[in-house]
């Protein structure tokens, strides 16, 4: 009991816990769409593309969230534009744009004299170092994302799984597609401070991917993703406290471990259920 309560006597741990719950929820909700649409690489791209935005925020002395947000949303829309307007394939467009943006960030970073705001804190983030002010803006942004998803629930679902029929029925599929990219970008921005550029894509897709192993019904899948995302983030946070190791990496490892367990024990892919099927076969 002490193991669970003791960390909560520290304000920084409570803030980290709230951030973990928020990030776990938002990532799982948006990540469910990302995984079902097969767009995991977009998450990777947008997180790296946020880097020049972080450097810009430092140079122009604006909030980091704003810099990262502008860069991430701009990149997501840019990728969408290239995909829709040219014959370049999706993965190629993403690869070209995100590495270009990341290089821009490194270039700019290296050009600033006496820049000691550390590169590593951008790359790896630290959920334990979230201030109350950060938390307030994260909650506001996270709530905005969840509200948009709830309001456009049917439209997003329809456009995601049957874009042709959705277009035929008069839905602005193109617009929804761009909106979806913006949602992914903002989700990444919300999660950046918790786990950093390199690990953030795992927060987005791992819980949803795990849920996909366990259920095929959309609503149940998303609910499972939220449970796994939030549970994994909380457990990972505690584990990092008990073990005194980096929090972001621990959270991602816990979620990856849950994915591994689902792979082995899950009802459809699981080795256990396969064995059972084998023995029950005539």
């Amino acid at each position: 009991m002490e193991l669970v309560v003791d960390p909560l006597t520290h304000a920084f741990f409570v803030r980290a816990m709230l951030a973990a719950i928020l990030v776990g929820t938002v990532c799982a909700v948006v990540g469910t769409y990302v995984v079902l649409k097969g767009l995991a690489f977009i998450g990777e791209a947008v997180s790296h593309a946020a880097f020049p935005g972080l450097v810009a925020a430092f140079v122009f002395k604006v909030p980091f969230l704003l810099g990262a947000g502008v860069a991430a949303v701009g990149t997501a829309l840019g990728i969408g534009l290239v995909i829709r307007r040219t014959r370049i394939r999706t993965d190629t467009a993403i690869g070209v744009i995100f590495v270009g943006m990341f290089a821009l960030g490194l270039f700019w970073y290296s050009a600033i004299k006496g820049f000691v705001a550390d590169l590593f804190s951008f790359l790896f983030g630290n959920i334990l170092a979230i201030s109350t002010g950060d938390l307030v803006s994260l909650v506001a942004l996270g709530a905005l994302i969840l509200v948009v998803v709830l309001v456009l629930w049917k439209e997003l679902l329809y456009a995601t799984f049957d874009p042709l029929a959705a277009a035929a029925s008069g839905l602005p599929v193109g617009l929804l597609e761009y909106l979806f990219l913006v949602l992914v970008a903002l989700t990444i921005v919300v999660s950046l401070q918790a786990v950093g550029i390199i690990l953030v894509v795992a927060m987005l897709i791992t819980p949803a991917a795990t849920a996909q192993l366990l259920s095929i019904h959309f609503n149940r899948l998303m609910l499972l993703a939220v449970v796994i995302g939030v549970g994994g983030a909380i457990l990972g946070l505690y584990a990092s406290y008990w073990l005194n190791v980096a929090s972001g990496a621990t959270i991602v490892l816990v979620e990856t471990a849950v994915f591994g367990l689902a792979l082995v024990l899950g009802p459809r892919t699981g080795l256990a259920s396969r064995r059972r099927r084998g023995t029950s076969a005539p």
């Binding site: 960390p7 520290h10 304000a11 920084f12 741990f13 970073y109 290296s110 004299k113 006496g114 820049f115 000691v116 705001a117 550390d118 590169l119 590593f120 804190s121 790896f124 630290n126 334990l128 170092a129 979230i130 201030s131 366990l214 259920s215 149940r220 499972l224 449970v227 796994i228 549970g231 994994g232 457990l235 584990a239 990092s240 406290y241 008990w242 073990l243 005194n244 190791v245 980096a246 929090s247 816990v254 471990a257 849950v258 367990l261 689902a262 024990l265 899950g266 009802p267 459809r268 259920s273 059972r276 099927r277």
Partner: protein
């Protein structure tokens, strides 16, 4: 497909993950204190003090003795610019009755972190304790490595003593005695350093540094730093900057290139090979090393021995 309730799956998953975490708890060892073994161990009721680097932690520990329990935020051998704080570090900050930082741009991200996490006691910025006019500024940026001039380290010690006396007024005389004893040793160290450096011939006193950590040392003990290879840790020089540096080395006749133990010495060796220079890549600046460089005094003696050997 075998039908199974999602709830059953979640329960089994949770059990599996819990088992895995407990297995992990067993295999990660606790990290020990990085400070020198000859320091007195904290007495019961000792207050917690946090310093950003092991060097500052050692200075604080010498002044506070057994009255305080000191933790360095950046571990021994750690790089202050690429440092990712762990949970126990943040616990130490939140429990600290005093937080000691260098300032002058050395540990700003860490000082911000202290502000975010919140500490019990005040933050002491040692750079502010330097005598007026002694801070070295280049291109508008202060150089933070003042403690490598032992005289400045004595200013740090005086500021630490004042801060600790304010927090522990009942123990003020004990703190003053400990600070005075340590200050006397530092005065001796300063004189010893001067004697050692006096043995270096005047013509051999031009040096190149990997990272600009030694201007205070050079100013105090009569070396001339011709240039540095990297301006800020983590930023590699451009081809043009390396060419400029090689030209400066050639025209000045600089003899040795100094680098700290925590940095890769690849660049230093590449430049030294081209310019036929001696490389001494095992110096310490903001982190302590293993014995005998595991205290501030040990660090200065270690660096001075190596610098003198390279230049003689």
């Amino acid at each position: 497909m075998t039908p199974r309730s999602p709830r059953g799956i979640v329960v089994r998953l949770a059990a599996g993950v819990a088992a895995l975490s407990f297995a992990l708890v067993g295999c990660v060892a606790a990290d020990g204190s990085a400070l020198a073994p000859d320091l007195p161990s904290p007495e019961p009721g000792a207050i917690r003090v946090v310093a950003t680097t092991t060097v500052l932690a050692d200075l604080v520990a010498r002044v506070g003795g057994s009255l305080i329990r000191v933790t360095s935020l950046v571990p021994k051998g750690g790089e202050i610019h690429t440092f990712d704080p762990r949970p126990a570090t943040l616990v130490a900050i939140s429990e600290a009755s005093l937080v000691v930082v260098n300032g002058l741009g050395l540990d700003d991200p860490l000082t911000d972190l202290v502000g975010t996490v919140g500490s019990k006691g005040p933050v002491l910025r040692l750079g502010d304790a330097l005598p007026p006019g002694s801070i070295l500024v280049e291109e508008g940026l202060a150089n933070p490595h003042a403690w490598l001039n032992v005289a400045h380290a004595r200013s740090y010690v005086a500021a630490i003593a004042t801060a600790l006396e304010a927090i522990l007024p009942a123990k003020a005389s004990q703190i003053a005695t400990q600070a005075a004893a340590f200050d006397a040793r530092l005065a001796e160290l300063d004189a010893w350093t001067r004697t050692q450096l006096a043995a270096v011939p005047q013509a051999n006193r031009k040096v190149i540094v990997l990272h600009d950590a030694f201007p205070y040392f050079a100013e105090a003990y009569g070396l001339e730093v011709i240039g540095s290879v990297i301006s800020t840790p983590g930023q590699d020089p451009s081809a043009g900057e390396i060419a400029d540096l090689l030209a400066a080395i050639k025209s000045s006749g600089a003899r040795a290139i100094f680098s700290e133990a925590q940095f890769s010495d690849k660049l230093a060796h590449a430049i030294a090979d081209e310019a036929r220079m001696v490389v001494e890549s095992n110096l310490y600046d903001d982190t302590l090393g293993d014995a005998p460089a595991d205290s501030y005094e040990g660090l200065i003696r270690w660096d001075v021995d190596r610098i003198v050997a390279a230049l003689r």
